[in-house]
Symmetry: D2
Subunit: 342 residues, 4 copies
């Protein structure tokens, strides 16, 4: 069987990444590509690297009959996403890539994103889309909220440790290095090649990055008590990749064993031999996450490092993984491509 | 049916690219990975980005029973390649990625590569592996010689024009810009990040680049008389990609029409709308070649530009395309992945 | 004596580069920094890398008493530049970095830039600012028009050859590779890091780049008859640098000798040993231009390659060189810094 | 007065950076350039970007009469450096850029560097070259040991806080991001452009990086009791720059005030407005260090970030600053150039 797919917000990087992946998916067909601001254009005008594919032209959301669609990916900016999704048929399966349905609590959403939530009903039914930890809920879900790319990376290295209670929950520091495509295709001065190349710096310092809302929600739920970590992201002159360096108080061997066991059966999460460190270059373009663990010279302290591709495992690949689950397909379908190296 | 594949020279970039592609190929299985200097190592030690794949450890060429292999890719340096290949079973199908069997004439080989050819018999039987122009010969071949990555790019933009006699054969200038992976994984000072990043320059100026041997052979054969073009390569601070800018004397509309017709049925070669120019970024990681044509302000002059990924269409992807032909498989099998962008 | 300097258009890259250079100049002091759109801001807000300098805040052009200024650099966009300059005191020495006064003929200006010229008087008095070739005129000038960065590079490698009549004037091809800062700090999609990194491509193909207006004017004047060259620029993933590869019909030894003699006394233009090729990395951040010459394998053809930094020798460094001449200072004052490598 | 300078180890990046700086220094003249392995070559062969300078050819150390030299910079690898320096005249002023004389205790040296120290006398007299904190000792010194580039960055952000006792000394985490030139011009696979570009990763994890020897020595001396910090370096795809992110337990306002006061009179160390973060791009090519402070959302925790250029303030610029002190020259002579941006 072939499922009919719509992509809403097809003119951004996560939209293009979805098209790249679905083009090779044996059970999905892209029926509609939606981008209100560029409706009427063909995809090769917006993304010349997709010109070899037979793709529908971009249309507005109003032009689409969603009842003939099996599943829609929504890759719109937050706030817009909830407005569009709340107007779609209630029977339509949706994977949302925005931040709009990640936080279960409306007050938390308003606190981190600055605007009140206008799709309370959808927010209530949405399932958090970190595939490896919400697998059964995602299988049964109608609406799945993809995690933030930074939030995913941080959770992959920390969640099993919090759940197993092998680290001090009040002493977790996450120093994250992310590539520029995480900021999207927006015209901002700091994203220009001339500004970014040869430069790197921290941003959203002091615990102001919005993905902290996800960390707080998820880590507290796992721990059964409030957990607040320290999190500082840095912008790195590269196009794809997130590297998260976690500093935790916990025995390195136990930390390592806990992560190995947690991910032993996971097809996409690979824990490296003890002491080895992952590189963003080694996962680029794939749905893989590499995790490395080392012990510090100070006893009782561990360094845990995770690497993934923000556009794939951190966003569009994760979204496709969730769609596979929602449609009853094997979870890894269309996601087994190896990284592009060099 | 699943074909058993051996890759000789698996520790270089073209070897790694072959593994990336074959891992997704439905009718091929990697049975042996051969790298004499790194025999005994596992692939994740040599290329950590391949650690998720179940791959055999690296072995020496002497350890392999080639009679149980259906096809071997040979990704060794030139000179070594001919020595190894001449010792393999005469029944084994081989795609060689080196320069050793590209030139049909032994004297030409010695002139451009500086050493006498020691596998005259194999040189005589080898078929030149530019898939789109030697398709039938490749189907019937036992030994196929992959083209040089620069030579392939130049031929894609010029061959149809030479054959159709729509340009002045004595006034062809090819200004080529290639990325660094074309030089391989060799430890050379000029390939260091600190040397190359932010810098670009010409090399092998004055008609000394070895791929001119291929241009001379092929263009002269197509034209039926000696053709010598001007060719200057430049090294660009990027990892993958070749951009070839051809300056020709010929009517732009006729040039454009000639190329459109030549590639109308080709799955991997795409001629852009007239006046548009290709970018290496738009073909990265794919087996695609994009071609653009524009007319100069000076009447009767055309600019023809081709872009491809040197490691894929320029080398390992082309090799797999040829292997598909040799094994009677659909030519595009395992090669339909879209480019990685951004 | 210390000259009081104003920089109009101080919030762009060429403005910042002027500040970098003048900060070390022993006889100049920056009195006013002007940027209408950012007036009221301090320079460390606009360019944090200049925060260690004691600089005046940005003001509007209306706030400045230009009678107390000895020389003004104008780094505004073309069209705006002529409007601003025509309203400045007629006694003020000005070095303009825009395109507005480069073309002596008003019709040429309108043809290449699409708008009629509104400062005919200033256009008539302006001197073309290619320092090495208009030295005496610049010394006597009130208004100097800085050359385009691409136009400067092309002229450095070709002008002496045209003047000496050692090449075929109807067969000149210039393939140019420029870095991204040449496009300024504008918010354009194709200048984003994610779009440009790992990608390179031609643009303004077919003889449509505006710097052709300068080439036509200057080369024709030197030759004493109309000269039209072929010129194709390419955008390269680097921040600074222009590499111009010229293909000419002329004897390599004569070409080389002509260039060596032309630049024997020039402090900033260096001709490399015959057969060596320049790199943009070797001139970055300096006011130097490196030139290399090689003979092609086809007799009677030469390849001439020039490299300079578009923001320094191609723009702000050249402007300071001209200002030194206009103020009677030694020409190299403040311009002797070595390139930054790596 | 002009001082006669020798540079031992002139063929590496720190040697080239010294030449770049000294070429503009009004009171120094490069008399000898020494590089045993490349003796006989001219500098433009080794570093083409220096071809415009009149420089002596490279010679061996044995060829130089050091009695006619006022001060020597030694930019050799550690271990070699102590062997060469111990054989130089005892009256010669020396700034060593290697690690050989940074650690005052011979056992510490052997522990971190793996070989016994063979120049105990020189080790005993050497002064630690962190200019801002050893100014008077450096003025009186004959032999100064330049700090490690990572060690310098970490000390700039942490030393005043340790001295003022405003942070918890047992809870300091330093997450450092360094560019590739810090690894020198060595031919190592992981320094190739194709390996590094688009990739970043941690290395020397777990407290194994040698610069920890310096941190331990200096921080313990400042605190008057043993201090051991956590330190994890990461390699970033850029050529120049170190960004050090320090996580400390201490009140943000007090931390900020302490740093502001410590550096209020320092010409090269700039503390940004509270909450702003530095970028490596903003100090590139300069002798500046930018420091930013922010408070975390968790009360009582501060984030302190420092940025400098590893080749300038982290190495050769610092060395020249020390040489100025040793020769009685104004400390900032030859070091006031602004950063190169973009």
């Amino acid at each position: 069987m072939t499922y009919q797919i719509a992509i809403i917000g097809a003119s951004g990087y996560t939209g293009a990444e979805l098209i790249r992946l679905i083009a090779e998916h044996p059970s999905m067909k892209i029926k509609h590509l939606i981008a209100n601001s560029k409706a009427g254009q063909s995809m090769d005008q917006v993304f010349p690297h997709l010109r070899h594919l037979e793709l529908p032209d971009l249309v507005t959301v109003a032009e689409v009959d969603f009842l003939a669609v099996d599943l829609a990916f929504c890759a719109l900016p937050h706030k817009t996403s909830q407005e569009v999704i709340s107007a779609l048929p209630k029977s339509l399966k949706i994977v949302d890539l925005s931040a709009d349905f990640r936080l279960r609590n409306a007050a938390d959403y308003e606190k981190w994103y600055g605007n009140p939530h206008v799709a309370a009903k959808e927010q209530a039914e949405a399932v958090y889309g970190l595939s490896e930890f919400y697998r059964e809920e995602i299988r049964a879900a109608r609406l799945v909220a993809g995690t933030g790319c930074n939030a995913a990376t941080g959770q992959y290295i920390l969640r099993p440790l919090i759940k197993a209670e092998v680290i001090d929950l009040d002493q977790v520091i996450l120093d994250l290095k992310c590539a520029v495509s995480g900021a999207g295709r927006a015209l901002k001065e700091n994203l220009l090649h001339a500004e970014l190349s040869e430069g790197y710096h921290a941003y959203a310092v002091g615990g102001t990055h919005r993905h902290l809302g996800e960390f707080d929600q998820e880590f507290s739920a796992v721990a059964g008590r409030p957990v607040r970590i320290q999190f500082t992201p840095h912008l790195i002159p590269a196009n794809r990749g997130i590297l998260a360096t976690g500093y935790v108080m916990g025995d390195p061997e136990i930390v390592y064993k806990t992560l190995c066991e947690a991910y032993a059966q996971e097809p996409f999460i690979h824990v490296l031999p003890f002491g080895q460190t992952p590189s963003t270059h080694h996962v680029r373009g794939s749905n893989l996450c590499h995790i490395g663990v080392a012990g510090d010279r100070i006893p009782g302290r561990s360094i845990v490092i995770g690497a993934l591709d923000n556009l794939t495992k951190g966003s569009s690949g994760q979204a496709l993984q969730n769609a596979n689950l929602m449609l009853g397909l094997p979870e890894t379908t269309g996601l087994t491509m190896a990284p592009l190296y060099p």
